[in-house]
Amino acid sequence: MSDEERQPSRTRVPMPVAALSDPHMGDAAKHPARVEKIIAVIFLLAIVFLALFGAAYWQNWRAWELGGTIGVGLFLLGFGLTAWGKYLMPQGPFVEERHTLASTSEERDSMAAALVERSAVVVKRRKMLGGLFALGAGIFGIVAVFPLLRSLGPLPGDSLDVTDWRKGTVLVDSSGRPVRKDTLVVGGIMTVYPQGTVNPQTGFITDRGQAVDQTVLIRVSDQPLVPPTMPGREDWTPDGYVAYSKLCTHLGCPVGLYEQELELLVCPCHQSMFNVRNGAVPQFGPAPRPLPQMHLGYNEQGYLIAMAPYDQAVGPGFYERTT
């Protein structure tokens, strides 16, 4: 084929022409002149509002004025354009034929044949190479995942099990003040952290103090609770003070909602309810386990202290958690 024959033909051939008055080309509106005027007014209003937005921005007006002007302006602009398209542009209806997506069965067969038979040639001749390559690629696929996942962070270890509370840790409030015998009156509640996690000068509380060690302290009575919150906890509630981990055993929200008359701790997230007199056993809602209770005592200075770490992991459940 000569060069000239390969080039696409550049002769201009006559093409069928449709008349402008063809109803397919025509306006959909009954009164196109009126519609045109309306759209013109809409565009003018849009211009006004958009210009107003420019002025509003320049003059540093408020958010609703900025948004109102550009919102109305853009809406009018879009509305006008859409109306133009809907009422004044050729509507048709026009039709387009769908071409069959599928190729001919010959083309399909030849594709399948190319895949199957050519691979067979390779595999038939070089089976061992294929196998080794597949093994290498597979191993790459596996080890490539290692840095993607493992480098992200540390192993959990036992970090999910322990808090900073130890025997003798003083309970302090969010300003770093220790708690004394008469700090709370019956019916009072406060959030406490281990001493050392709250900086009294700056008010800064460490992440662990807030997230893991957070404890809720309630004065339920002015005598140690009888019966005890749980068997064996007779001396855990001196002077009627009860302390529980503030981390909900459902999903870890702080259980800060206390109803004094009902003696009920309610978790605000999903409304699990814990009775503070019976060891914060969940009475209602999705929480599965009681809130871990803290064994309270006093030190020589008269401050409330923890007598031991929590006897179990605080917060929600996870696979490695043992009771």
Partner: protein, 332 residues
Amino acid sequence: MRGVRTPLRGSFRTQFLLPAGLLVVAVMASFAMFIPGADAGASGHADTAQVPSIPNKHVTTRACGTLNVKGVTGTTRNAGNPFNSSNRFCLNGHLVSYGSRYITYTNPPQSLISAGQLLFAQTCSSCHGNDANGVNPDGTATIGPNLQGVGAATVDFWVSTGRMPAADVKAVEAERRATRLTPLQALELAAWVNSLDPAVPAVPYPHLATADQSAGQDLFSLNCAACHTITGSGDALAFGTNAPSLQNRSVTAQQAVEAMRTGPANMPRFSGNLTDHQVADIVSYVTGRLEHPDNPGGVGLGGVGPVAEGFVALLIGVGGLVLICFWIGERS
């Protein structure tokens, strides 16, 4: 093959106005849910036997007479205990006022006691007993609890917020409502009840000029938001109880202090864990910011949060745009 083109006609009504009208109705209905209105007046029955009673604790001094300090901490300074505050003023064996530069607690004048006794007999004795001790003349327990030793602030809070006299004695919790009694009458009642067993806290008068709203916000979010929500919109709690809205502008600073110091109904009692300074900070935040929310972004939707926002996004946002699709396209 025949094609169809439907020219424009008066179907604008059905195509556009009807769906638009339905949308507007849906929007109004969901908006009505989120406009802060009256607090939840729950049904149920009150169980006064469950109320933990604070044992009496009396302190007697020559100057101030015998004072029931069961309701306040002994430990923290300037936290509502007259014997541990910067100021204390007693006269003729009665406690007149005490406090710090952030809150002054003052007992109602003795002169109001007789009017208070009369008013109590007319209004309150049927539920609380003739001597406000929760005992009927025949020895049975009254519906209302024993009021002896609750202190003037407690009485003033319940009466000035309209919770007492109770509208529905069977309700789980009394709700705030328009007061039947005047502020003076509230003080008269407080004076008389207090005279039976003089107690603290006295009626607080907060001084908010030097209060720190930022510290108040910090303390509010730690101590109060769990029940009242961070925007103060209030919400339903367990078993028909509720935390009232603090966006209500009729909540006064005095009432807020009274509530914190006396722990009404299921609200905890904040004593030694919050000093007067901290209470003033919180109250300044509540009356200054929660009651006048900073909504520079537009309509605040009652501070309810993503539930309301979701309704608006779906009904007004997506709904409105679908309505526009109705207009642009055809209905075949």
